[in-house]
């Protein structure tokens, strides 16, 4: 029996999985790090009210976590460009968009200690399925 003829074991399956995983994981890492940075900085509207737009920009640009987040978002961006160049948008779009909703909710709960309650989990699942249908 030729196992490589099975879709799950073919090289293209693993290549597609690796590309989607790279986009989803780097995007999640970027968003969690950026959210952690913005939480540590505080409300930008309040900072802008006290120190002006320049003060708000300085507050963001002097936070090391922000640059870590931007780095992973840049990785996700170029991974997405690469993926879109090799895959149909009909597959890459729904897979990355819907998986990112779920991985972000999980990462927000465990890394940012957010209270992702039943209401947010329900919304995450509904939106995940909805985005899949919409983009497929």
């Amino acid at each position: 029996m030729n196992f490589t003829s099975l879709p799950v074991l073919s090289a293209s399956f693993w290549a597609i999985t690796a590309m989607i995983a790279a986009v989803v994981l780097s995007s999640t890492a970027g968003e969690v790090l950026t959210a952690a940075a913005m939480k540590s900085i505080g409300d930008l509207d309040e900072i802008r009210a006290h120190s002006g737009l320049k003060g708000a920009i300085v507050a963001v640009l002097t936070c090391p976590l922000f640059f870590a987040g931007v780095f992973f978002m840049a990785v996700a961006f170029f991974a997405l460009l690469f993926t879109l160049n090799h895959m149909n948008l009909g597959l890459a779009g729904p897979a990355t968009a819907s998986l990112t909703v779920v991985t972000n909710a999980i990462a927000a709960k465990f890394f940012l200690k957010e209270n992702v309650d039943r209401r947010r989990w329900t919304a995450a699942v509904l939106i995940c399925i909805g985005v899949y249908f919409l983009a497929h």
Partner: protein, 139 residues
């Protein structure tokens, strides 16, 4: 207003990127710098401009709301793009896509009325957690 900007700029920016990248010849990992050249093509450049607008409003939203709230509450941007493509571009929308619109709208309706922040910001240590747990009507 901030959440509306986050919602609309991201899907429109991604759509521009997709249009720009699919019109280019296939790129290879052997020539990684060809990815940087792609940034200067018109559709990709427009997509990047929209994504910069998204990023500025996204950072502002994250400074006063949870990631899990912002991410879910702004998901209806996909719905806006779908409705625009149907009513402005007169594109055919399948039953499956209308089902997606309904599910996203339902999901956003679930999360939007809830608290926007459930963790204490680092710079406001003097404020008790109880006052912050239910803080923040959506802006």
């Amino acid at each position: 207003m901030i959440l509306i900007l986050v919602s609309v700029c991201a899907p429109l920016g991604n759509a521009c990127l997709a249009k720009g990248m699919t019109s280019l010849p296939e790129l290879s990992l052997a020539h990684p710098f060809s990815l940087f050249a792609a940034v200067f093509t018109p559709w990709v450049a427009l997509g990047i401009a929209l994504l910069i607008g998204f990023f500025a409003s996204y950072l502002t939203a994250l400074s006063w709301a949870d990631l899990s709230y912002v991410m879910l509450a702004t998901a209806w941007g996909n719905v806006v793009v779908e409705l625009l493509s149907h009513f402005c571009l007169h594109e055919q929308v399948s039953f499956q896509r209308w089902l997606g619109v309904a599910l996203i709208t339902l999901g956003v309706a679930f999360v939007a009325p809830g608290p926007s922040r459930t963790v204490q910001p680092a710079l406001n240590d003097s404020a008790p957690l109880e006052t912050l747990v239910e803080k923040g009507a959506p802006r």
